[in-house]
């Protein structure tokens, strides 16, 4: 039987109104948690479920929550990450547009578990529709007593505020997000201190992605044991895979972790256009190493499986390239993106992203030398693990792996003095 999913309403349906959400089990998890569970038991249940962050890094949610100081001093905050700016990624938007109360319920349960006063949902400024939809849902939840003073008679005073960003990828990085929310440039902070100790306004802060929080009501309502029956041993539950690029039916599909990438591309997304063959797939947003077709056809979409083949799950955003595509052009767009989005604080990142972009442009134009390609490994090594945040690493992987996995195509550009796919490939 096909997996039905639990994060999104059935196709064509919308549960943005509280009545529709409640008619489908909505707020039962919150009722259960606030009326019958101790905060520590909620944290334990989430930990036991194996729920991992859906924002890119895959860190255990329950584990992260347990880092907040046990000696509770108020106020404490949630920063919910709705910046969704990793190219290829549009999964959180599905939740925000069609099931916003599920996020509010997740935030409420997390607030109970961690003794939180307020949650700020940091939403990318371009998401006008989702912003209005979530705000309307927050107003409904407040009117229904799920937000405000003494929620469900639990003694918890808790509210949710939706905050608009203004279009900078770096504000999705958790400490860049906090700087931005406080009204500054979104330049990431040095750690320690970590957000669990000193986050928003230097107070203990839980930071989680929209989708991560949206799993929480289900974990509580149906239990950690149920959650663990979905997915794989170390990647539990489902996730929303957003497929884009050269497939017949791009779309967002909620599927268990461990679903074969081949099935996602060829069944759910309708496969390739007639007569085309698969060339490359980015499995988790452009920060993650690209896969060649052969590997892509064999790998399953969970954390361990992707790591074994030299990539990472990231945001589960699947970008598909067929044989018409030029890999150098893909690398140009990706390196341009990181160059544009580097906040400039760290030399390795600022210089490295600029250098990579320039090199890719020269390869495409056929003016690079083969020896230039050899320097890439050295440059990317300088960029990895040495900076304030992981944007630099992502920039190194994003375009560096296009070169490593498709080197003959890069060399062909240099040999011919130009792009061999100029007639067929997409333009940058």
């Amino acid at each position: 039987m096909a997996f039905e999913g639990y994060l999104l309403p059935p196709s064509g349906k919308d549960w943005s109104k509280i009545a529709d959400y409640k008619a489908n089990g909505g707020y039962e998890g919150a009722e259960k948690a606030l009326r019958s569970m101790k905060p520590a038991d909620v944290v334990a249940e989430v930990k036991n479920s194996g729920l991992r962050g859906r924002g890119g890094a895959g860190f255990g949610a329950g584990m992260k929550w347990s880092f907040l100081p046990q000696d509770v001093q108020r106020p404490r905050y949630i920063a919910c990450n709705a910046d969704e700016s990793e190219p290829g990624t549009y999964k959180d938007r599905q939740i925000l547009e069609r099931n916003p109360h599920q996020l509010i319920e997740g935030l409420l349960i997390a607030a109970w578990a961690n003794t939180i006063d307020a949650a700020y949902v940091y939403m990318r400024g371009e998401y006008r529709g989702p912003f209005e939809n979530l705000n309307a849902a927050v107003a409904e939840a407040r009117a229904a007593g799920y937000l405000g003073r003494n929620v469900l008679g639990s003694g918890l005073d808790f509210d949710v505020f939706v905050h608009r960003g203004a279009g900078a990828y770096i504000c999705g990085e958790e400490t860049g997000l906090m700087e931005s929310l406080e009204g500054r440039k979104g330049q990431p902070r040095k750690r320690p201190p970590f957000p669990a100790i000193a986050g928003l306004w230097k107070r203990p802060t839980v930071i989680n992605n929209v989708e991560t929080m949206s799993h929480v009501p289900h974990v509580i309502r149906k239990g950690a044991d149920w959650f663990k029956t979905i997915g794989t041993e170390k990647s539990t539950g489902s996730t929303i895979f957003g497929v884009s690029g050269q497939v017949v039916r791009p779309g967002a599909f909620e599927l268990p972790f461990g679903t074969p990438l081949r099935e996602i591309i060829f069944e759910h997304a309708g496969g390739l256009r007639p007569g085309r063959t698969l060339k490359a797939v980015i499995p988790g947003g452009v920060s993650m190493p690209v896969l060649d077709a052969e590997t892509a056809m064999q790998v399953n979409m969970d954390h361990d499986s992707l790591q074994k083949v030299g990539s990472l799950l990231g945001t589960g955003a699947v970008v598909v390239f067929d044989d018409t595509s030029c890999m150098v052009r893909a690398a140009i767009i990706i390196s341009r993106f990181f160059r544009h989005e580097s906040c400039g604080q760290c030399t390795q990142c600022r210089e490295g992203t600029g250098w990579l972009h320039k090199l890719m442009l020269q390869v495409e134009a056929g003016t690079a030398r083969k020896s230039d390609l050899d320097v890439v490994d050295e440059i990317t090594r300088q960029m990895e693990g040495k900076t304030i945040c992981a944007l630099s690493d992502a920039a190194a992987w994003g375009s560096g792996w296009f070169l490593r996995r498709f080197r003959p195509e890069f060399e062909a550009h240099i040999d011919r003095g130009g792009c061999p796919h100029a007639g067929t490939s997409f333009e940058v």
Binding site: P75, E84, S85, E86, P87, G88, T89, Y90, D92, R93, E97, R124, G125, E126, Y127, R128, G129, F161, H163, R164, G165, A166, G167, A168, Y169, S180, L181, E182, G183, R184, K185, G186, W201, G242, V243, S244, G245, Q246, P250, G251, A252, I282, V286, A317, V319, F321, S325, R329, A330, I333, I334, F337, H340, E341, F426, E427, V428
Partner: protein, 175 residues
């Protein structure tokens, strides 16, 4: 140009949500762009800074850091095309080119009548319905092709002629 009382009231109404006034800065700048012609004129900076209890430079550096704020004039309809990976794969460059032809300006420029400007932006989070564009800060126009450009421009011109407010969704398409 002083901030209108109405705009100041909208901004101060946000204060209670946060422990510090400064946190309202990004929201305030969105309000200003919506109500004052789509850009942040240097004239409003000192007054906004004072309202939030920060320095003018604190406002200026935020305006220059975030791509959604415009320290210079943009067109009444600022048409922004995503040129990141999923959109380029599906023809975003052709959309930009057609806009340039249709409006007779280059990407990054404003038309002489001040009605239009073209911008290129990073991934808008709509990759499954690529290519995508956004007019001002309105709801996205999705699955757009170069051939849709003349119709889009016509609709926006009609909106301008009819006095349609900057802010409502008259771009057509979109959800």
């Amino acid at each position: 140009m002083p901030l209108s009382e109405e705009l100041k009231a909208r901004i101060t109404a946000e204060f209670p949500k946060y422990p510090e006034r400064r946190a309202v800065l990004l929201t305030a700048l969105h309000f200003i762009q919506e109500e004052c012609g789509g850009w942040v004129s240097p004239d409003v900076v000192p007054e906004l800074a004072e309202l939030l209890g920060i320095l003018p430079i604190d406002v200026e550096e935020v305006v220059s850091f975030y791509p959604m704020y415009h320290p210079d004039r943009v067109g009444r309809f600022h048409v922004q095309v995503c040129t990141n990976i999923a959109c380029c794969i599906r023809g975003a460059r052709g959309v930009v080119r057609r806009l340039e032809e249709q409006l007779d300006v280059l990407s990054g420029e404003v038309t002489e009548d001040g009605l239009f400007s073209i911008g290129e932006v990073e991934c808008l989070g709509s990759c499954g319905t690529a290519p995508v564009l956004m007019v001002n800060n309105e709801r996205f126009v999705e699955n757009v092709s170069a051939d849709d450009v003349p119709g889009l421009v016509e609709r926006l011109r009609a909106r301008a002629a009819g006095g349609g407010a900057n802010g409502s969704n008259g771009a057509g398409g979109g959800r």
